[in-house]
Symmetry: C2
Subunit: 476 residues, 2 copies
């Protein structure tokens, strides 16, 4: 057992917190439920931001910044929205020592303040579409918090777009869902199911909510990103109309969508192991660490020379570091970088130098292979790609092997309890059935998959007809 | 006169707001004193962030994220700090509909919450230095606000470092001051005076505050960035000690430093003119805009073909855009990009195409020159550098020509009133003199320059001896 890390098989929740602590990703803050994202955790978030930001911009989006504080009255303008968010708001009642005339809420999400601005910015079809994203912090008053997965304050991006037609709004909603799926699978190496949520699980104020859902190693689902088609709900609440090409005044169509620092929680629970964090190469702030092992200064400088020549080609291509600190032993360093999840470790002592090779250790598999220095320069970039691919496939196989079709309700209840996993079931589409399912199984309908095949069947509870299966699972 | 922009000579304050409005940089938000940073403004901030972040990281810093909400009691732990910031705090008294046991303040700056965490992170000299920066929003309850220059909520970066010795702390403070000066001059093309603040102008809780000060076009000073040597004040307030190499327990030495979206205000007021925004090439989200002028579709496609070949080399090197929108006329486009401050505009109609040339317009000078297409590909990158340099030199000359040495108090008072500018004066170093100066002239001592030469003189007010001149000016 690794010092400081509980085994997954013993206590999965404790393991999760131990991985975060030993990799120095985050800490609880003085205010209950808030989080400090430490440099190691924030570096992963920066990598995530860079890739997502690039993808959003390539799809035509621009960034902006809307204010943290929202008049309380704004939250009440959209009926479903206030019902969903009012119980979660932090309220500012005093400023500069004086009581405010109207309390302000700290944004739990920014639809209301953004649509109050869009009212001024949109007059004509020429002003559309607006494709704006913002990177920001939000606060939701949560009582049961867990680092990254659910915290009172979290960091996220929230996109808010405005369109001239419902078709464009729907197209945007799905385009973003697809970006999220691509990011999750290609960068996080985290396979996801993408599709639409049930009405019960819809965002407060949305017409439809789409989501990506991943399976964690304890076989529970994690909602990892959502994309909402808001219809004209917010345009109506804030009276945002535009003149179309024919001169008619119409309400604007909207979408909103977001992913948050919760993704870091998902990353941890998809890949990490009993030795600590494992980060996929494409999001690793550091992809390769090289540890020279020396006794004398002469040995050290010979090793560093060789390492310099091996890595001379990597600058700007590979994120690597030579850990030549004097005040820590090699064994301590191996352990430290392992806990931090760095994909590849290269060790080199005097004997390796004599043999012109290094010992290569893969973090994801633990595999140790000596590799000739002549090959290292060239082979490491390819190996990083292999690791990325292997991590995705391992996670996908794990999920697929824990995803089942079940048609018997007693079996569903029993298996959800005993083994967990994702279950594709038939459901009659009714809210009362969904409520009963949730009450009796503690699981929720996660998603109706985009590409779920049509299949005539009978609702697992009511026996009523159903046209396709939905995915049910216990979730975070 | 340009539509929508008041002349500087008529009303400088109104001109400033008009430039922001016509370039669509920012808007006032629904909550008084708060700001919406629109995509055009945010794109400049992103360019600033990218360069600063790179400079901080090259100097060994890492990013992290600390929480927005701070227990009110934390603010009171450092006596000067609470005195300075308590009157500016926004206070959260309710969360999730319930009254909180202890009110929380929205961070006006993060020293207190960060040092409460450093207490856990620092035990030994091995844990030092800590070189952390965060990009975040802060809230200070301001009554008199102005877009970018002073808003209730603003975006900034705040660095918070911890060191084993006072020398290291001082070195860090000056290293950052120098990064700020380099950024202001080399990227913003905004010349600054760098030096130490008087005790009166010191950050609440600092031992020394260093700052960069720029001159705006109305000859008032803008404090553009500050770097604080905090001594052991916060280490003592939060009881943060470390064991040194000899095993002795000592309080840690600290610095903090920040620049904010205020820089965008400084950028505007340094370079822009009666035609709107002017952005230096190194921070322009778009450096070159090319506007084809056509009557027929054939003309349009011939122009676009030529433009494609001229710009084929620029991808990834120059930020450029071809404005081939059908629904706007060329004249409207010229005007639009001029107001947005894009450094270079290239215009090309069928006659230019026949002559294998484009009309080149420099935003900073208004100069129009035809340029052969054979030269454009190669010469534009060099021209961008020339513009950057010219803008800096113009701003520096402007400042230098409005900076004076004055030894007569009556003259100082009169000239501060009638012509403004920076005045290098002798001062006896006493707070009471400084207070009187401020009361009687409405100007403040901005900075005691780093490189101010020793010069024996007499205090302009008291006649007492002084060893070097200080800079006094009216300020934002």
């Amino acid at each position: 057992m690794v010092k400081g890390i509980t085994k997954r098989s013993e206590d999965y929740s404790k393991w999760y917190l131990d991985v975060i602590a030993t990799a120095k990703l985050a800490d609880y803050a003085p205010v209950k439920g808030c989080m400090v994202i430490r440099p190691n955790g924030y570096a992963i978030w920066e990598r995530m931001q860079a890739e997502l930001d690039r993808m959003f911009k390539e799809a035509g989006h621009v960034n902006a910044y809307f204010p943290l504080l929202i008049p309380e009255s704004f939250m009440r303008k959209e009926a479903d929205h206030v019902e969903g968010f009012a119980p979660e708001c932090a309220t500012v009642t005093h400023g500069g020592g004086k009581k405010l005339d109207e309390p302000l809420v700290i944004r739990p999400t920014s639809e209301t303040v953004i649509w109050s601005m869009y009212k001024d910015w949109i007059q004509s079809y020429r002003d559309l579409p607006i494709l704006i994203n913002q990177w920001a912090n939000v606060v939701r008053w949560e009582m049961r918090t867990r680092l990254f997965l659910r915290t009172m304050e979290f960091l996220w991006q929230e996109g808010h777009t405005a369109h001239a037609t419902p078709e464009e709004g729907q197209e945007e909603t799905l385009k973003i869902l697809n970006i999220y799926k691509t990011f999750a699978e290609d960068f996080m190496a985290m396979p996801v199911l993408a599709g639409v949520k049930t009405e019960k699980e819809r965002f407060a104020g949305a017409k439809e909510t789409y989501a990506i859902e991943a399976m964690m190693q304890d076989k529970r689902a994690l909602q990892a990103g959502t994309s909402h088609n808001l219809g004209q709900n917010f345009a109506k609440a804030f009276d945002v109309k535009f003149q179309d090409k024919e001169g008619n005044l119409k309400y604007v169509w909207a979408t909103s969508w977001g992913v948050s620092t919760r993704l870091i929680g998902g990353l941890i629970m998809t890949h990490s192991d009993d030795n600590g964090l494992v980060i996929p190469p494409k999001l690793a702030p550091l992809q390769v660490v090289i540890i020279p092992i020396w006794k004398s200064d002469d040995e050290k400088s010979a090793l560093l020379n060789k390492i310099d020549s091996v890595t001379s080609d990597w600058k700007g291509k590979i994120l690597f570091k030579v850990d030549d600190r004097d005040n820590y032993r090699p064994g301590w360093k191996f352990n430290e970088w392992e806990k931090q999840g760095i994909p590849i470790r290269l060790e080199m002592g005097p004997r390796d130098l004599a043999e012109n090779s290094m010992m290569l250790v893969r973090r994801d598999t633990g595999e140790k292979t000596p590799m000739s220095c002549d090959n290292i320069t060239r082979e490491i970039p390819a190996l990083l790609e292999t690791i990325q691919k292997d991590m995705f496939e391992k996670a996908r196989d794990y999920r697929d092997n824990s995803t089942y079709e079940v048609d018997d309700y007693a079996e569903l209840k029993e298996r959800l309890k005993s083994e967990g996993g994702f279950y594709r079931i038939h459901w009659n589409g009714k809210r009362e059935t969904e409520d009963r399912l949730q009450n009796e199984t503690k699981a929720t309908i996660r998603v109706i998959e985009e590409n779920a095949p049509k299949e005539s069947g009978k609702c697992i509870l009511s026996g009523e007809p159903s046209e396709r299966r939905v995915v049910i699972a216990k979730s975070y």
